[in-house]
């Protein structure tokens, strides 16, 4: 998961013991930089997918909805474990669920994740060659 960096990442471009080479480029980069809140959210999304178990969960949910115990079987861990990971995915708005009797059926929140994953997989396979 993400770790707090001690450095205060101030948004403005303050001096930093190193000379700037390309003022224009640096200026552009800084002005195009998304707001801290957005960056945080983006980090959190990637963080959520940077774990084998959670990746499995999300990949499994890419094609269908599944209940917690089936996800547990797919991932090879206890349902408690799955539930913990699902909460994290829920908190980051990557998955949703509906109740079906005593069962909770999970699915992806929207297509963003699906697309991101397919690009990542494409990248991985392309580089593997």
């Amino acid at each position: 998961m993400q770790r707090m960096s001690k450095r205060s990442h101030i948004t403005g471009g303050e001096a930093c013991e190193v000379e700037i080479v390309d003022d224009i480029a640096v200026g552009q980069a800084l002005s195009e930089m998304p707001a801290p809140g957005v960056r945080k959210a983006v980090v959190d999304i990637h963080d959520a997918l940077a774990d084998e178990t959670r990746l499995r969960i999300v990949l499994a949910l890419s094609g269908r909805e599944l209940c917690v115990c089936d996800l547990a079987n797919i991932c090879g861990i206890t349902s408690s474990g799955v539930s913990h990971q699902l909460r994290l995915l829920r908190d980051r708005d990557l998955v949703t669920y509906r109740r079906d009797g005593k069962r909770a059926v999970y699915s992806l929140s929207d297509d963003h994740v699906r697309v991101m994953l397919s690009i990542a997989i494409e990248h991985a396979e392309e580089r593997a060659r």
Copy 2:
């Protein structure tokens, strides 16, 4: 970053103290699951972007190429720090560089990252509303 999970994530669907509800769905999910190697690579990609500093670097490189010291200024850290992070990004094939005299100029390896980021940002902004 990713941490090794003690569990042995065996690919096949072995028994796991929980009953399977939807055999067909579980079977499909397992058969569609990418190979372990690919999953690892995908985890690594997301892991690389799950850090504020590296995200900044990649976002900055989204629009232009930049040398190490300019990146240091943008991120507000030492060039040594940037260099460390750049090595990680290089190892995961997310960035490349060319030499320009005594300077190393970095850029994104391909469009995959750019697209992934824009989707993640879109997702984040959409959910923020």
